[in-house]
Structures are given as C-alpha cells and as structure tokens.
Symmetry: C2
Subunit: 470 residues, 2 copies
C-alpha cells in the first residue's frame, strides 16, 4: 500500500503529490501536457486566478504558503466600471485584513511542481495522456505524446486530478459495473481572454489592487492584475441570441463597435483588441458534478475532475486545494504512522468518508458560483443590491466578529464549510433584501439595531425552511 499514482499535474494534482510524498507515500505523478516550466504558455487560457483563505490553507499544509504569497497581488474589492467610465470600489469585506489575491496559474503550478520534484519519493512523468483506467485493478494506460507508445502503470491506488475533462472520470462514466451519477451543465455564455498590457516601467494602466468588473446585464468584462503590470481581461458573452454575442461578433468593426459602446474606457487600454479577440479561443463555461467519486476503493477523483465549477466565485482552485486538506485530515485519522507501517490501509473507507464529508460542500460552491454569475453581471449594477452590500460592509466594519456576508463566509471563513456558507448566506441575503423591500430598515435605527433585526429575520427564515424541508 505504498504506491500512489496521481493522474494530472495541474494545481490540485501537484499539491496532492507534494502532500502525499510528505506523508511518506511513493508517488508517481503523470501529466498529459509537456512540463510547463520548459515551454512557452498558450495565450488566452485562464492566466491568473483568485487565491483566498481556503486555498492558502492547503498551501500552508504543504509548507508552500510563503513562497506562493510572493506571487500574489492583493485585491481589496471589486472596482465597478459603468458605461460612462465612472468607477467605484466595492470592498470584499468590511474587515481590513480580508482580501483576495490575483496569482498566476502557471507561476503557482511551477512552484508546486518544483517543490514536489524536490521530494525523493516523487516521480513526475510529462507528455503522457491517460487513455483508460482499469478501475478494479488500479491500473492506467497512457500514450506517450512523443513516441506514441502505450504504457501501463499499476499502483495501489489512483487519484484522478486531471481536470474538468477528466479521462479518469470518463472511465467511471463508461463503466457498467456501478451506477455513476453525472452532470455537466453549460452556461449560455462563453469566455474570451484579452490582455491590458503593462504601462511603461511595468506600471498598471488602471487601479492595481482590485478585481475590475464592467457589469452590463447579459455580458460582463472582468480584469485581474499580473505582477508584470499587465491585466488579464476576460469577456463573458452569450454565444448567441443577443445583440452582441460570439455568433455575430465576426469582424474587427463589430468588435470595436461593441467595445466602444459597452466598455469605452477599456478600448484605449487594449491596443490589439481585434487581433486578440480573433486570435484567442472562445471557451465554454461548465459545471460538472458526479458521484461516487471513488470506485472499488481503488480510484478517487479530486479537484476539477470531481467538481468543475464556473469561475464566478473565484473558488475553483481554492476548492481543489481544500480537497487536499479534507483528505489529509482523514488520512491523519486512519494512517497517521509513517512508512513502512503502511500495510492494510483501508482506502475504501477513507474514500467513502472523504466523499461523505466533502460532496455537499463542492455541490454548494458549484451552485454559489452560478448564482454569482448573475450577481456579478446584473446585481452589482442594481440599486437594492448596492444598498444591501453597503449595509453588509458596514456590519462587517463595525461588528467584525458578529457578521459575515455570504461572500465573506465563502471566501474568508474557511472554518465553516461551503454548504453551511450557502445555507446561512442565502438566508441572510433573503432577510436583508426583504427587510429593505418592506422598508423595515429605517433611517432612525442604529446600525446595531439593524444588525439585530437582520439576524432575527435570518434565524426565522432558517427555521421555516427547516420545518418545511427538513
């Protein structure tokens, strides 16, 4: 019970490899693509990500938090841009020490690969694509990209961390030996990455320490800062059936017309707008859920392979790193000893307990991420939601120990689970919106009185749901 095969050396797979090696397992980490430390990166494929408390906890567990922080740019809030080019900053929290970080995906991945490679018990193989997994025998077949030859690797257990399009998951889907629940849901929007290049001397062309949003109802543009002074910009746009959509933005003139109309302050910051628009791919936005995550106590899905989510809560990577934390706690319980006292590990029990603990939370963050898509593109521009946000920020600033908004619960409060954050956060939102709509939060009330009323209403909502739905 010493040999572990991890398929997929992205963020989740490389952190898992590092942590499992620290626990004394013999790890083989296989990646389909070439070693990203040795090749130039593709343009237009999610260059930076939001790293927050749950993700940092995973990095801390493996002792790489401080190194990772060197790659981070703090973002204190959402900088909202209206059509006239006016901006206002909506902080992520009323507490000063709560912010999220922009980090380079390849930068962080390289750091994790470097750290994993330092371990004597980790062997990393690149350019080998998984073709099929023999689930009952923990054995996987790979094709070498260069020689085109097939090889088979057998282990005691396999972890599938091969991302949203997981080949390991596909083997489970196609197996007829157990019932595999599976869901893939696509949004009607796709995304396209663009770049705001750095100004002179690596300066930033717009405010550095924010996640920029241009909310336009059906479409949205966002931008996250990079260390070199550039911003990675992402356009979220319907594929079809809209005045402007990917189906009809087919000429440079149309692209410029659209950007000049909707995002005039952006046009001057992207010198090669049309070239980038047509040069970069259009990506789909999907949610994947499945169950069971493990088959025969031999193979376990983790990270995006088990639960791919849309990017609108900035939690994809954070959720995957939290997977490693949750698994690690269970391993600590069942396999605390160091090798070679490793015989008889009951992986089946470990894998089942992991899913029982974790599945409800990754389902919750998947649903929250879809909710936030609508919040970002529509609600951030709506008056009642701005009043709610302002009230919540005041609660958090005045009563930092007593109030956490849904966003804060999800993003900064890693001591509670995603599913609890969803339940409490939605009830709070419903309470505040209805109290505002009913005019029950009056000018005469103190902030403390408002907080007490919101808390009371939240509890009533949770109670009524409990009675009706259990």
């Amino acid at each position: 019970m010493n040999n572990i095969l991890i398929i997929g050396a992205g963020l989740c797979g490389s952190l898992l490899a590092l942590r499992m090696a620290q626990r004394g397992f013999q790890v083989t980490l296989v990646e389909k693509r070439p070693d990203l430390r040795k090749v130039t990166q593709d343009a237009g494929r999610s260059i930076n990500l939001a790293l927050s408390d749950r993700g940092l906890r995973g990095l801390r567990l493996a002792g790489v938090e401080e190194e990772a922080k060197k790659l981070c740019i703090p973002m204190n809030g959402r900088m909202i841009h209206d059509k006239a080019g006016n901006t206002f900053l909506s902080p992520y929290s009323g507490r000063k020490d709560e912010y999220i970080n922009s980090i380079s995906r390849p930068g962080l991945n390289m750091l994790l690969l470097d750290e994993a490679e330092k371990m004597p018990n980790v062997n990393i193989i690149f350019n080998h694509a998984c073709e099929e997994v023999d689930l009952e025998n923990a054995s996987a077949t790979f094709r070498d990209f260069n020689s085109k030859k097939e090889t088979t690797i057998t282990a005691d257990v396999i972890f599938g961390t091969d991302g949203a399009g997981s080949a390991v998951r596909k083997s489970m889907f196609e197996s007829h030996k157990f019932l595999f629940s599976f869901s893939q849901q696509w949004l009607s929007h796709g995304y396209k990455e663009l770049e705001i290049p750095a100004a002179e001397n690596n300066g930033y062309r717009t405010y550095k320490n924010a996640l920029h949003i241009w909310p336009r109802g059906e479409d949205m543009l966002i931008a996250l800062p990079n260390l070199d002074g550039s911003f990675t910009v992402t356009l979220f746009l319907p594929y079809e059936n809209s005045d402007y959509c990917f189906a009809n933005l087919t000429t440079p003139e149309m692209v410029h017309e659209y950007f000049n109309k909707e995002f005039p302050d952006v046009v001057e910051m992207i010198p090669n707008l049309a070239e980038e628009f047509f040069g970069n791919p259009t990506g789909p936005l999907g949610t994947v859920k499945c169950s069971p995550w493990n088959s025969f106590g031999k193979v376990l899905l983790m990270g995006d392979a088990a639960h791919a989510i849309v990017p609108f809560y900035g939690q994809g990577m954070n959720a995957s790193f939290e997977d490693v934390v949750v698994l690690d706690e269970i391993l600590e319980k069942y396999v605390p000893s160091r090798p070679p006292q490793r015989e008889g590990v009951d992986w089946d029990t470990i894998f089942r307990e992991y899913e029982t603990l974790r599945k409800k939370d990754t389902d919750a963050i998947a649903d929250l991420a879809v909710d936030n898509f609508h919040e970002m593109k529509e609600h951030t521009a709506m008056e009642i939601f701005q009043r709610k946000r302002k009230l919540e920020t005041a609660f958090e600033a005045e009563f930092p120990e007593e109030y956490y908004s849904k966003y804060s619960l999800v993003t900064f409060k890693e001591s509670i689970t995603y599913s609890e954050a969803l339940k409490r956060g939605r009830a709070q939102d419903k309470a505040i919106l209805n109290l505002l709509d009913d005019g029950k939060l009056t000018e005469e009330m103190s902030l403390k009185e408002k907080l007490e009323l919101v808390k009371k209403e939240t509890e009533a909502i949770l109670h009524d749901d409990e009675v009706a739905f259990g």
Copy 2:
C-alpha cells in the same frame, strides 16, 4: 418536409406517431424490440402505471381516450399499511371526481400501436435498434436484430422517443459540435417487481381501488391493481448500507425474515415470494435531464429520452403524453394546413419554442418526483404530514374551487404547468407546515378562516422568494 422518422415505439413514440399521422405527415416508426403484440412479456418490468389528467388529455387529442379508459382501474387514494397490518385510506383529493388510474403499460402500448397502424401514412418497423444518428442530416442507422444487417433511414426530421437509455440522446452527448448539458442522477435505492396474484374468480386479495403503500422510512412497498385481479407490487429498497438492502437479501430466508418483519400482511398474499424476488431483475431509479433537446433543427428528443424521471409522482407517462400535446399546439400555430402544403416548415423554430415552453416543466416534475419519494416512504407515516394532508383534503372538499394541494395541482390541474404547480405547491406546503408547527391553526378557527390564513401565508412566502431570488 413530409417525412418524419420516430425512433422508439413505446408509449410516447406510438402516441406521437399517431398524432403526427393525423396531422398528415408521412411517419416511419422504428422500434428496437419485437412487436409486443406478438410476444410474451418479460416479468418484473413496470407492468402497470398511473394514468391521470395530463396523460388523458394527450390520449383525447389523438381520439383514443375512451378506448384507453376501458383498460383503467380508478384509484381514489393511497391505502397506507402499517406494520401491524392496519390500513387507512388517504384520498388523493377532497374532490370526488379526482382520482388516478392504474393501467397496463403493454395494454396501452398495444392500443396505441393498433391505432397508429390503422393510419395509411404510418409504417412501423420492429426489431431494429438505433446505433447512431447523423444529427446534421436527419439520418439514422439501425441494426436488424434478426439479419444483423445495418440499414440507414433518412427523413426530414427525426424524433427520438427511445426512452431513458436513448440512443438518439447518446449521439447528441457524444457530438462535439455543440454544448450538450446532461445529467443522470441515480437514487441510492433500486426497485424489484413482485406479484400478488388474483384470488379465485379474478377477485382482489386487498382493496381494489387504491394505490397501496407500506411506508417504512428507508424502504417502501407499493401495489397497483390489474384488471385480472392481480396487483403489481414494487419494492423500493436501498442497494446497500442498510439493515435490509439488496446487497444483503441474498437468501430466501433473509427475504422472508425481512418481509415478515416489515410487511407481514403482504407475505400471505405473495405465494412465491422468494422465487419472484430472485427471479425478477433489480432495476435502478434514475433521473435524466438534458438540453438542448434539438440539434440543428433536425432531431428532437421527447418523452423519457429527454426527461426520464423516477416513478414516485406517477407522472412519467403523463409527462410524455403532455409533451405531445405541447408540441401539437406549436405545430397548430406554425403548420395548421394539411398536406401537400407542407414545404418550408421551420422545424428549428418549432423545436426551440417547444423546449422554451416545456423544459422548465419537465425539470419541475423531475424534482417533484424525487421529493415525493421521500414523502411516500417517510412523510406518509409522520404525524405533522398527516395533519397537513387531512387539512388539505378538508379544504378541497369544502372549497373545491379555492384550494388545490400540490398533489392535486400536479395530478389533476392540467391547465397549469408543472413548474407553476411546483412553485405554488411547495409554498403551500411550507405555509401549512409552519402554521401547524407554530400552533397558528387553532381549534377555534373555522375551516374558512384556516384556508384564508394558509392562502395569505402562501402569498407572503411567494413574495419573499420573489424579492430575494427574482
């Protein structure tokens, strides 16, 4: 635009074939299995079904309602059996004319095939399994079960009515030319059919005009009457991880021990219990959702192929027949004329409009059916739910025009959609359960006062949800 290929001659496909032929289209109906009018039926595969108002509306549209009613046995309510063998009848509605019907699946299917076959413009081909659909060209390849030869049939449009395991849907799932959202969710329970044979002279061994339920928390037995005096019994039991589950009921002794303990009044009615238990297959219980239902304006999924649901609302067949009604209304709008004035039918528009109208409703009945699984196995035995049910039955009896329970909205009120029934029905349930829990429906109140309070609370719940979730 005259040739229509329908793949799958089950209940939905054969009703659709009949109706499309009545509209003047040239119909080819292809079925994988042999002609069920000419072979003996398999035991243990959903022998009877619940037919209610939405289904009857579809049969009426095609002029076969009266013939179908001859196959029906009215069921006026749920007959609940407790462990001691006590029974009580919980009516489906407080209105006397609202009941559901037990009907033989093969019997109804034969009737529909007979009627379709009478049409000069219908050609039915059996024993041909669909292997693949060329979605862009409305062409499908079949394998002849007898000769093993492949044939290809091309049409103007194809309808996939080939059930929960649809081959047509599989072609959509595997196409890489569009984004196909897809979900299959399995319950942790499976089902097994058994039979209570007729008494002497085709008599019934228990009350004929009810759907019998033995609710036992995690497991449940139900029974529906057949015309010949027998009942088809279905056991719903967890696959594993339960004191009694399919994984551990492995011997005749275990089966008898389980039935004697949980369903003592049934044991004497099933003479060959163990033989049937081990002779009949164990079936899975799954929900399938997908979107889009149409590809390239050439192929449309309908019935279980588009939306397979679990059987706990007795709405699977009814939803499929309602599909035909909804499509027919759209056809009436766009293609009212009779052939040969049939050129230039805009199927793409028809198919999109159909999905826009219909998808939210089939999603709703899928969710309601899963909810009802829990209601049937747990809630029917719980005191607060029995008080709710009693109150609702009184509302319906006293104020038949003013109150419809969730069950009645779904089952008897075909003028409102499943999605409206879900929204209003859940709000009503929540209102009543909370009013009961809070002790606000007091003895002193008249029934009318109680009804007004429930209505007011329901509206408040709907309003609060609207403010918070739009």
